[in-house]
């Protein structure tokens, strides 16, 4: 049997956690960067690095805006990101099934 290929962008513990968290957000919602950082208990620098990789892959959309004078960054999974996460979950399930 051929093993399903795992998406290398998602197949890293930290990014998988980021994507799983963003996937819990209802479609059409964005979460502020500090809130996401808080949910994941990651450092801002670490989270930024992973978000950039996810953004480059087209999985995450980052919106920079202002509230008054303070810049606020919002993060959301793109449709493609949601799909990739779904496919990744299916692949992982298949692998677990294959192991048993």
């Amino acid at each position: 049997m051929t093993l399903p290929e795992l998406d290398p962008v998602i197949h890293a513990q930290a990014r998988l956690r980021v994507v799983a968290t963003l996937n819990a957000l209802p479609e059409g919602d964005q979460i502020a960067f500090p809130s996401l950082k808080d949910l994941l208990a990651m450092t801002a620098g670490n989270l930024s690095v992973h978000l950039t990789k996810l953004e480059d892959a087209g999985y995450v959309e980052i919106t920079k805006t202002h509230k008054g004078r303070t810049p606020v960054t919002y993060v959301a999974l793109t449709r493609r990101g949601r799909l990739a996460f779904e496919e990744y979950t299916v692949a992982i399930r298949a692998l677990i099934g294959g192991e048993a």
């Binding site: 957000l25 808080d38 992982i92």
Partner: protein, 204 residues
């Protein structure tokens, strides 16, 4: 931190744990959502019942002004508590959910204000004894309707059924009179909100 060594089973567990943790933080705590209203109505309508009795003879020396103060104060406290909890959760999101919540919040405010204005025209025309029932019954009808609508908006069956239940008890109580209405709302509606909050929290 890029541990590529995790087994598929471990990755799956990571997905499940992280999704569950995020969902728990993103969704409001049902206990805080329902229980404060339950307590406010149990206390408020309970006091009203004691002040009025079933047949108009008070069961306790409580003025209707005091009963009204307990009811309004309790609702105000419940609302303030809910608002405070929403802010303290600390997670900032924007988009569909926020807009939905905002419109729903404004719907409460507008409906209650309009109700107050409409009823204030009719209040002087009906016996004093019935005025408090008119306000109580119509305001609980607004509550019932908005809970049914909220259930539809968020596809939350418990919320929808609480609305249905409130409408049924409200209508039955209004038919029976002021004392009965206060007693039934206090026990059956206040109690239902409290129990729903506790049960949903436990299931989480």
């Amino acid at each position: 931190m890029d541990d590529e060594d995790l087994s598929p089973a471990e990755m799956m567990r990571l997905i499940e744990e992280q999704s569950a943790a995020a969902t728990r933080r993103l969704q409001p705590d049902p206990l805080l959502l329902y229980a404060p209203w339950g307590v406010a109505w149990m206390a408020g309508f309970g006091t009203f019942f004691l002040a009025h009795g079933l047949d108009g003879r008070p069961l306790a020396p409580i003025s209707w002004q005091l009963a009204l103060a307990v009811l309004m104060g309790g609702q105000l406290l419940a609302g303030a508590f809910l608002f405070w909890c929403a802010r303290a959760s600390g997670l900032k999101t924007r988009g569909v959910t926020t807009q939905r919540g905002m419109m729903y919040g404004y719907a409460w405010f507008v409906a209650m204000m309009a109700m107050g204005l409409i009823l204030s025209r009719f209040a002087p025309m009906i016996p004093r004894d019935e005025v408090s029932l008119l306000y109580a019954a119509v305001s609980m009808l607004v509550v019932a309707t908005l809970y049914m609508a909220g259930g539809a908006v968020w596809r939350e069956w418990p919320m929808f059924f609480l609305g249905v239940w409130t409408a049924v008890v409200d209508a039955a109580g209004a038919a029976l009179g002021p004392g009965w209405h206060a007693l039934l709302i206090s026990l059956l509606v206040g109690g239902a909100f409290l129990v729903t909050g506790i049960v949903l929290r436990r299931r989480r």
